[in-house]
Symmetry: D3
Amino acid sequence: MTTRDFEIANSVLVGDTADVYFHRTMTILRNEGMNPEVVMEFTPERGGVLGGINEVRSLLTKVLPETGREVWALEEGSAVNRKEVSLRIHAPYVSFGLYETAICGILASCTGWASAARECVEAAQGIPIVSFGARHVHPSVAGIMEYSAVVGGCVAPSSVLGARLTGLTPSGTMPHALVLIMGDTVRAIQAFDRHMPPETPRVALVDTFHDETEESLEVARVMREKLRGVRLDTPKERGGVTPALVQELRARLDQAGFSHVDIIVSGGMTPDRVREFVETESPVNVFGVGSYISSAPSNNFTADIHEIEGRPAAKRGRIPGITQNGRLGRVL
Amino acid sequence: MTTRDFEIANSVLVGDTADVYFHRTMTILRNEGMNPEVVMEFTPERGGVLGGINEVRSLLTKVLPETGREVWALEEGSAVNRKEVSLRIHAPYVSFGLYETAICGILASCTGWASAARECVEAAQGIPIVSFGARHVHPSVAGIMEYSAVVGGCVAPSSVLGARLTGLTPSGTMPHALVLIMGDTVRAIQAFDRHMPPETPRVALVDTFHDETEESLEVARVMREKLRGVRLDTPKERGGVTPALVQELRARLDQAGFSHVDIIVSGGMTPDRVREFVETESPVNVFGVGSYISSAPSNNFTADIHEIEGRPAAKRGRIPGITQNGRLGRVL
Amino acid sequence: MTTRDFEIANSVLVGDTADVYFHRTMTILRNEGMNPEVVMEFTPERGGVLGGINEVRSLLTKVLPETGREVWALEEGSAVNRKEVSLRIHAPYVSFGLYETAICGILASCTGWASAARECVEAAQGIPIVSFGARHVHPSVAGIMEYSAVVGGCVAPSSVLGARLTGLTPSGTMPHALVLIMGDTVRAIQAFDRHMPPETPRVALVDTFHDETEESLEVARVMREKLRGVRLDTPKERGGVTPALVQELRARLDQAGFSHVDIIVSGGMTPDRVREFVETESPVNVFGVGSYISSAPSNNFTADIHEIEGRPAAKRGRIPGITQNGRLGRVL
Amino acid sequence: MTTRDFEIANSVLVGDTADVYFHRTMTILRNEGMNPEVVMEFTPERGGVLGGINEVRSLLTKVLPETGREVWALEEGSAVNRKEVSLRIHAPYVSFGLYETAICGILASCTGWASAARECVEAAQGIPIVSFGARHVHPSVAGIMEYSAVVGGCVAPSSVLGARLTGLTPSGTMPHALVLIMGDTVRAIQAFDRHMPPETPRVALVDTFHDETEESLEVARVMREKLRGVRLDTPKERGGVTPALVQELRARLDQAGFSHVDIIVSGGMTPDRVREFVETESPVNVFGVGSYISSAPSNNFTADIHEIEGRPAAKRGRIPGITQNGRLGRVL
Amino acid sequence: MTTRDFEIANSVLVGDTADVYFHRTMTILRNEGMNPEVVMEFTPERGGVLGGINEVRSLLTKVLPETGREVWALEEGSAVNRKEVSLRIHAPYVSFGLYETAICGILASCTGWASAARECVEAAQGIPIVSFGARHVHPSVAGIMEYSAVVGGCVAPSSVLGARLTGLTPSGTMPHALVLIMGDTVRAIQAFDRHMPPETPRVALVDTFHDETEESLEVARVMREKLRGVRLDTPKERGGVTPALVQELRARLDQAGFSHVDIIVSGGMTPDRVREFVETESPVNVFGVGSYISSAPSNNFTADIHEIEGRPAAKRGRIPGITQNGRLGRVL
Amino acid sequence: MTTRDFEIANSVLVGDTADVYFHRTMTILRNEGMNPEVVMEFTPERGGVLGGINEVRSLLTKVLPETGREVWALEEGSAVNRKEVSLRIHAPYVSFGLYETAICGILASCTGWASAARECVEAAQGIPIVSFGARHVHPSVAGIMEYSAVVGGCVAPSSVLGARLTGLTPSGTMPHALVLIMGDTVRAIQAFDRHMPPETPRVALVDTFHDETEESLEVARVMREKLRGVRLDTPKERGGVTPALVQELRARLDQAGFSHVDIIVSGGMTPDRVREFVETESPVNVFGVGSYISSAPSNNFTADIHEIEGRPAAKRGRIPGITQNGRLGRVL
C-alpha cells in the first residue's frame, strides 16, 4: 500500500477524543516545565495485517515539530507479528502525548479490519472479495473500515466514501427494497438498465420473490448479453446460500446458454464458509463479505516509553531501551 | 435513557457513507417517478441492550418530511430480544432509503457497545464500572462508543468527547508515561496534586516501578488523607491483577491506617474476570473496562420493507405486513 | 396394542432363516434322545418400546405343543427397561429351539422401530407423526416396519401393506415425479383432484419448481376450500425445511385467507429437529418421519436358558433360575 | 460379484410395499393418458459398498417392457461415492414408477449391510470374518442381509437361507443352549462329534461353565486332533473377549501341544474392536460379527427424474439432465 | 482421631531430610546472633482431610523449647479448606526453622492419603473400605500411609506396621502365590484353615484358576459355615470385577445355601468404580482399595512467616499478620 | 546408573511393612513343609524410567540364599515399557515371598519419581533441572525420592540425605524466612556471603519484598561479581513466574552490566510450563522442580509367579512360563 494522506478530524486534533488523563498530564508537565525527548513504541496484541499507519502518519505530520522528530513504522498492509514494534516515535513528549489514545485507536481498529479481510482473501484462493459491511458499523467509520478492508486485500468497497478513500469504483447491485417496490425482479433489472450509465455492470439480486434459479433464468432471458451477473443473498430462514445451490444455478444457467453470467454470493460469509465453497469447487465469481470484516475485533495496541532523554526506560513488565526491528522504515 | 439530540455529520447527510446501490436506487426511482409510502422495520440479530436509537432519531428528524411520517421505536437502553422490531419507519421511501446503511450501522455498533457494557455491569453486582476503552477504537467513534457504554450502565467515560456527549465528569488517573517521565510514582502524584484543581480526585497508578503493594504504601504515606485511591493495572507479563493481590493490598493498606484509599482495578477486564473478583469478595471499589466494551462485536440489524402503499409485502424468508410489538413508542 | 395374529412366512417355519447351528443342535438332541423341558428368557440390550411380541406369539402358536407350554410376555407397545425379561417360554426345548434366531430377530427389529417412533412422538408433543420411511428399508420388511412405527405411536403408515397390517388408512401426498411429469405444481394438484375419490385429502407437494410460499399460494388460489394441506420437503441443497419457513408460510397463507390449509413437514426429521419446531412454536400440522424410524438400530435381544427340567441353570455371567417380573402376562 | 437372479416376492410385484402415493400417481397418469419416457437416477446419501443392485435388476427384468428400456448400474460390491449415480433407468414412467419405494429400499438396506461388512473386513486385515447377525434382524430379511454381508467381504453366512443365496457353506459352532442341556462342555462336543458328518468342523463353545482357558484345555484333551477350534463369546458381564485373553489362551493351548486348534472370537465385535485385536497381534483365526453388520444404518437412496421425453428436467436443488458417470455399465 | 505419639526417625531429627538451605540459614542466623520469635502458618493447596498433624506434633514436642512456645492446629482427620491455616507455630525461629521441609512433607503426604481414603469412604456409603495399597508405595512410608488411610475412614490396614500404628487388626486374605503353589484353591483354603488361629477369618481368593463363581462354590461346599468370605480380584485381562459378576455370584451362593459368605471386591478400585457398585446395588460386603489411596497426589503445604517479634510481616503475595481461624485448638 | 548398595531398614527386613497375608502364607507353607523353587516376574503398569532396582537388589542380597538363586533385572534408569518384565527372581519361595509388598512398593514409587523427572529433563532440552520437592513428601522417603529424581536426570538434589545418597552437592539458595527475618533482601545476601564458605554459590531469592527486577538489580549492585544468580519463585497470587518476566529481567541485568548473573526459576514447574519457557527462548539457566516429581503417581508393579519347580504356571489372565526379555541382565 503506498503512502497516502488523510484528513484528520478537528475533534482529534484538539484532543477531544483523548482520555482525560492525557490532558491532565499535559497541564502537569507544562507547569513543571518538563518536556523530555522520549521514544515511544507501539505493539499489537496479536499478529495480523497492519492497518491505520497512513492515517497515523497524517496525524503526526500535523502535530510533531518539523525538526527533532523521527518516526519509524512498518508499511500499511504488511504482516505484523504478535508484540512486534509497528510504530516508533522519537520526539518531545508534550508534542504528541495527547494523541496516544487516538493513535492506539486508529491502529487497533484498522488492523482488526485489515486482518479480517486478509483471512477471507486467503480463504478465497484467488476469487475476488468485495467489502459489503458498511451497514454493520457506525457511519463515522464506514469509510475508513472499507479503506482498511482494501488494505487487507478486498478488491472493492461498497460505499461512496470507501470508494473515495481507496480510489476504487464502488461495487454493488441493488437492494431488496428496489425489487420489492418495483414488485418484480425482472422489472427491477429493466429499470436499472434504463437509467444506469452503460459502464455500471448489470447485476440482479435474485432471491426476493421466487426460487433463486428461477429468478436468475427469468432475468437472464430478458437481459441476455447485457446481464453481467446475479447475486445470491438467500436469507438464513431459507437455509442461506449453499455450495449445492451455486452448482445447480451454474448448471441451469449454462444449459440455458448463459455461461457469461457471473454468480456473486453474499450473506453471512466468513473464512470458513468461503473455504467450503472453494473446497467443493463451487463456481462462485465474487464473494461479498460483510460483518466478518466490519465487526472484526480490534487488535489492541500498547504504547510504551522505552527511552527518556536518551536513557533506556520502561515500566515493570517491559524491557527498557529501543527494541530492534529491522523491518521498520523511516516515515517522518 | 431520556431522549437527546445528536449532531449528524455532513458525510452522513449527503449519503457519502451509504452503499452505492442506494444512490443508484434513488436515481432509478426518481426517473421512474416512483416514491411509494413504505413501512420499514429494523430487527437485531441477537438480544441485548438497544443503543443508537437517539442518534437515529436525530438523523430522521433532519431528513423525513414533517408530515406523512411516523416513527416508532424502543427506548434507548432498553432490553431488546433477538429479532424484535426495534425501529419502524413509515414514510415515503425516497425520503429515507438512502440512509438504510447509516441507520443499520448506528444501531449495530451502539447496541453492541451498550450490550457489552451491560454484561460487565451485571457481573459487577453494584461495584461501579468506568469505560476505559477509548484507546481501542478509532477516534471517530470514541465519543459515541463511550456514550453507548453509559447507556449500558457504565458510570463514567474516560474521554473528553464521551464526557460531553453524556454530560458526566470524565474519569481517569494518570498514564504510565507521566510516572516514567517523573521518574518515581511518589513524585508523579505530588506533581499531580500540585497542579490539579481540588475537585479532581487524587488517584495514583501504582504498578510502574515497584511491587504494587509497596508503591501503594509509599504513595499513601506521602499523600495521606488526600489520596482518594490507587489504580492497579498490572501487565500480563506480571500475571495481571488477581483477586489475591487486591485482598493483600487492602489488608496492607488497612494495617497501615489507610482504609480510606479506594482500589481501582483495570487491564483486560471482562465479565468473567469481574465475576471472579466479585465471587471471591475481593474489595475492589471501581473496575475500569476497556476493549471488552469498545471492541464488542456489532449486533447486526436487518432492515425489511413490510408494507408498500398500505399493502403487506416482504421478501422471501420474511413475514409480510407490520409486525406487532406493543413495546414500541412513537418518537416522531 | 391389542393382540393380533400374523401370518408367518414358510421360510421361517421350516427354519431356513435359523442359524445353522440350531439345526445341528436339533439333530444331536434327537439322536441323543434328549428333549428337556426348559425355561428360556428374552431380554433387550437397551430400554425402549417393546415391538414384535404379537408376531412372535403367532409363531409360537404354530410351533409349540398345545399342552405343556407356557408363554409369558410384556404387552406389545409397552415400555421395557434395559435387560428386563420381556418374553418367557416354558416348553420342551426341541419344540422351539430352532426358532431362537427368528424370535430374537423379530423382537430386535420391531423394538428398534417402535422405540424410534416413540422418541419422535414424544418430541412432537401432540402433533401427529406419519411414518414415511418405507423407501429406506428392504421391501420384505416395509410392512412390519410400518406396523411397528404405529405400535410406537405414529398415526398412519404410508405403504399399502403397512395400512393392511395396522388397519389404518395410508397417508401420502404425491411424489415429485408426478409434479415433474405434469410440468407444474398447479396442474399436478388439479389432475389429482380430478381423478382421486373425494375422501382422499388433497395435499400438494410445494417445493418442486418455485419457492415454497409461492407454490403454496398458487395452489391454494386454484384449489381454495378443497385444498387440505401443503407438504414441505425442501431438499438439503436448499437448506431443508426450517421453523422460520413454516412460520412465514403460515402467515402468508393466513393473510391470503387460507387458514384452513394444513402444513405437513418432512425431509430428514429426527426427534431433535422435531423438537426445534415445537420449541419455536412453528405451526406444523403433521410431521412425516422417514429414516429415523426405518433405519433405527435394532435393539438386540438375548435368549438365555434359566431352568432345565425344573432346576435353575444358566451360563456364566447370567443368574440361574427364573427372573421375577410382575409385569409379565400369560399369552399362551 | 457376478450377476445372479433373485426371486421377487409377490407383495413387491403387486405394489403392496409401495407408498400409497405411487398407486395414486399411476391412476392419475393413466386417466390423463400420460406415460412419458423418463430417465431416473438413484444416488446414495453416503459413500460405501454398493449392495442390492442384483436384486433390483431381477425386479426390473420382471416389470420393464423388453424394448425401449435401458438400465445402467454400478456393479454389486463396488465402492460407491457420496451422491454418485449408482443406477439409471431409462423407460416409460408408468412401467416402473410404482417400484420407486422398493428399489430405494433394497439399495438402502443392502448397501448399508455391505458397507458395514466391508469396514470389518478392512479392519481385520486378512483374518476372515463370518456373518453372525441373523439373530439381530427380522427373519424376513435375514437371508438377504447375509447375502449382502458376503457382498461386502464376509467369508460365510450363518443361516441356512443366507447359505442358499450365497452358495456358501454356512458357518456355526453350537449354541449355549446345547451346552447347558448337555450339562458339560466336554459332553456337548462329544455328542456333536458323534452325530455330525465328518465334514462339519468340530468347534467348541468354551465359555459356558468355567473359565475359557480351562474349558478349552479340557475339550482339547478329549477331542485332540479332531478339534478344529474353540469359540470365545465371553459375555459383557465378564468383560467380553479381550486381546489378553486370546493371547493367554493361544499360549496355554500351544504349551499343551494343541497348536492346531483355531481361536474364533465373537460377541459385540465392531471394526474398532477388531482393530484392537489386529494391532495387538492377538492370534485370532476367525471373527464372528453380528449386529454391527445386521443393524447397520441404511444408506438412503434418492431417486430423481433428470430427463422427461429427452429434455433435461429436475426439481429445485438438483441439476437437470443426465449426470455423467463413466463407471456405469449397462445391465438391461 | 485422638492424639497419639509417633516415634520420629533420627534422620529427621538431625535435619538430614531438610533442604540444605535451611542448614545454611541456621548457620547464618547463629553467626549473626539472631533468633527472633516468629509466627509461622501452614496452609494446604487444596481442600481435603487433614493428616499428619499428630506426627508433626510429636516432632515439635521433641524440638521446641518447653517454654515460650505455642502450637495451634486443626484436629487430625478434620476437614480442611483450600488455603485454611491448619497449623500455627509461635516459637523462636532457630528452634524449628530446620524442620520446615519435614513438617510440610508430613502434612502434604498424609493429607493426600487421608483425603483420598475419605473420597472412597464417601462413595461407598457405609460399605467398609480396607486399605490394600501397601504394595504401591515405598516401604519406608507404608505404615504411615496406612495410618493416614484409617484417619480418612478406612476400617483396617493390610500391613503389620499399619496395624501397629493404628491399633487395628490387619486385614487380608491370601496371595495368588499361595494358591498357585498349593495348586488348587480348595487345597489352599484348607491349608489356611488348618494352620491359622480360629480368630483369623477364612476368606478365599477365588479367581486364580477357574471362573470366580465356580471357585467360590467349590470352596463354599468344602468349608461350609467356616467360610467367612470370598475375594474377587479378577485381573484386567479378564475384564476386572464388574457389578454383574458380584450380582451373579451372590445369587449363585444364595441358591446353594451360602448366604453367610461375604463378597470382598478389590483390583483398581476408585471412588468412581465404588460408586458404580453402590448405584447398581451390587451386594459387596467389603471393598479393598489400593493405589487410589497409596499413590494419591500430595496436598502441598505452604509455610509462611506472618509475624516477627510481634510485628505483622509477610512476603509479597501474602497478607501480613496472624490469620484468624476459630477452628484451631492449642496442641502444645 | 551404576549399581550401588542401599541400607535396608530393619522394619522391612523383619517384614513389618509387608501385607499381613504374606506372614500367614509363610506360616502355612512352613507347616505344610512346602518351599518350591519359583520364578517370579515383576512388570510395571505403564512405560517410564525404571527406578528402585538398586535398592531392591540390596534387599535381595540380604535375604536370598547365596546359592540356588538367580536374579535378572533391567538397569536402574533405563527406559521400561508397559508390562515389560523388569525384574525376575528365581529362588525358593519362602526365602523372598514375604518381601513382595516391599519390592513392588520400592519399584512403584521410585519408577514414578524417576519417570516424572525424565519428563521434565526432556522438556528442558539441556537446561539443568534441580530437584526441589523434598518439602512435598514425607521425610521418610525424601532422600530416596531425590535419589530417584537424579536417576531420572536431575542434576542435583536439595536435601542433605538426597545429597548423601547420590554423592552430589545439594543445591539451594535461601528460604523466604531468612529474607523476612533479615528484613531486606540485600542484607540477607550480605549475611549469606559473610558466613558461607567460598565454594557455596551466592544465589539470592529476589521476590520477597519488591518487584523481582528491582530486587535483582539491588542485589547485583551490592554483590557484583560475587553474585552467582538470582532465583525467581513468584507466588501464584502475583501470577507466578512468566517467560516475559525472565526476558525482562535478563535484559535489565544485561543493560546494567550483570550478564554473569544466572536466572533460576521455580514454583509450580511442570513439563508443560518448562516447555513454555524453552519454546519462547526465555533465558532460564536452571529450573527447580518440586511436586511434579515428588508427588508423581506411583507406577504400580505386578508380581506374578510364572514357574513352579520348573513347570510353567500362572494364574488366569497371565501367560504361564518365563517371559522372554533379552534386555534383562543378571544382577545376583
